[in-house]
Subunit: 348 residues, 2 copies
Amino acid sequence: MATIYDVAKAAGVSPKTVSRVLNDDAPVGRDTRKAVQDAMSRLGYVPSNAARVMRSNKSGLIGLITGAISNTPDHGDPRGLPELYIVQGVQDVFGREAKTLMISDTGGHSDRVPSLVSTFRQHRVEGLIYVADYHRQTRFEVRPGDPPVVLANCYDTVGTPSILPDDRICQHRLVARLIAAGHRRIGYLTLGASMDATRLRTEGYRDAHAEAGLPLDPAMIQEAYRDDHAPMTAALGRLLALPEPPTVICCGNDEMAMRLYGLLRTRGIEVPQRISIAGFDNYRAIAETLFPPLTTVELPYREMGRQAARRLLDIIAGTAPAATDPVRVPGPVVWRSSVTGVAGAAGT
Amino acid sequence: MATIYDVAKAAGVSPKTVSRVLNDDAPVGRDTRKAVQDAMSRLGYVPSNAARVMRSNKSGLIGLITGAISNTPDHGDPRGLPELYIVQGVQDVFGREAKTLMISDTGGHSDRVPSLVSTFRQHRVEGLIYVADYHRQTRFEVRPGDPPVVLANCYDTVGTPSILPDDRICQHRLVARLIAAGHRRIGYLTLGASMDATRLRTEGYRDAHAEAGLPLDPAMIQEAYRDDHAPMTAALGRLLALPEPPTVICCGNDEMAMRLYGLLRTRGIEVPQRISIAGFDNYRAIAETLFPPLTTVELPYREMGRQAARRLLDIIAGTAPAATDPVRVPGPVVWRSSVTGVAGAAGT
DNA sequence: GCGTGTAGTGACATCGGTGTCATGACATCG
DNA sequence: CGATGTCATGACACCGATGTCACTACACGC
């Protein structure tokens, strides 16, 4: 492998001049430059990043830790997709920058993370992005001397910069649209109560009611997330048994909505004629395939990835603080025909 | 960032001794070792890969080029999945090795490949794996001085080591199973005729017939792959109009099989009672969801990734030649209820 | 004509590890 | 007891870039 010395000798100049041509550092004579460039291409010269890093301490590397690849969706299972989208967004930004993105996959073992970080440190990455599989708290240990970190889809308690989906606004927007369509009794089958997403979305649900001056009926909100079907069947039963049952039911995700279609069909309840349904995630393999297609909300994963990348670049450049409140990125409601207006409604 | 000199000073030894502790190079006294290790953890020392690479010219890096991330499946579209599985397989192997995998995504622009290779060369990767999105020929230019390359899911004409799915054997196995189940008239709706997969699988289809001593009816093989539905409808029409129509129809992939379900249902033909169907790919989101579930073949993408990785390691270690015929990896038939036996058959 | 500035170039040290070789202290063997 | 070998360690050069400084021309302004 040719070195800068070989090029220098071949071009009849000093190594430093070759370096100047490489980096456009300082003025170089027209003829000299040409001679150097010729020599470089003749020898197939590629500068050694290692040597460059040693001197300048700038590796040009950004590390990214994710489970995106090992969590590949299978069975039409949407887990793993958010991470992939976030990684796409990150790539989007770094593809245009003079930084190289090193992607490392945890292989689903979060205990492997410290070893990945250590490898990244050996390579002297200038920054690190950690992508989580779902919106949650994390404890990403940063020791002094570690490169700056940006968290995507997760957050910690020590103020590490973090980019999160705005679950609250998303649910708020969705419910507001339902209210605008005339719905007044809005059921909500939530994900597990311990999840951050559930807490935030429930707040969004409340916000929308408060904004519209609608009373809040706690019986409308039912936890219904389990692997078996029982909790959902029970929760649906409770909703339908209410004196004033819901005219629309929101679900914690699109899979739950899909199951709800089945449950309602079993009971002979037509969607959306008798009950409207809304999902969450806009997992298109489900939302577009169901009949009727599913109204849902999309979380802005690609955009989160982009923002995480830009944030990290700003921190590295020193134009942004290395710690702040999380940034929350909202996403759009995707309106499809699983929701109809309600007779006598103001809107629709 | 602490250096080996800082550690040496803190431990009261020479830098070289610290290096020996790091690499377990040469015997080091018990007490000395402990003193060095203490100093390292006290200072949070992480060795610089750059410096190591300079001296030893071993970067410990393996480059991987793929479109896996940017080709993320969406709409339940299975494109992009093969690449992800291959990358998973590659990771599987390198996760256990003292090599770091650098994944670079093309972002769907194959013209960006040379620039990725150049970046990898700057980082002095010890080897390169190129993963293609579908089985095809490629022209991955290797210049002298480039690191060794292994191709996955593609091949070239200059003998670059290559790991391919064994489309021929796969189709052979599938058709042999169909014959064993009593089928004698086996329709085949192929992918585009120009694809390598189609050529190879058609050979496999022929092999199975020859092996069983069955005559080959060219009318049974129909190209039917387009984005619009017309060619498939026409091809199906031709098959059904034959004096002896097929008792089972093989499809070029699972999506085609899914469409075939629809076409047959429209004509009132029951699957599998009147016609059996077989797909290809075992794209489970489709194959397991259809009713009846689809008999299909699975291409061994993860295994291909593993073999590509091991192959590259062998080449780097010098225990394998850097050029040979492609390795073809077979995959299993996945038998589900879309195929029934035929009355009076020997088997089933 | 002399100081000042700038284009163009090279010598040399340096970044942080590791390979090579040398050295001293003991242990082992014939 | 001297030759030989092994353990444990250090001195020093070197990998391939780049930062610093110095130097030579030549142009420009006064």
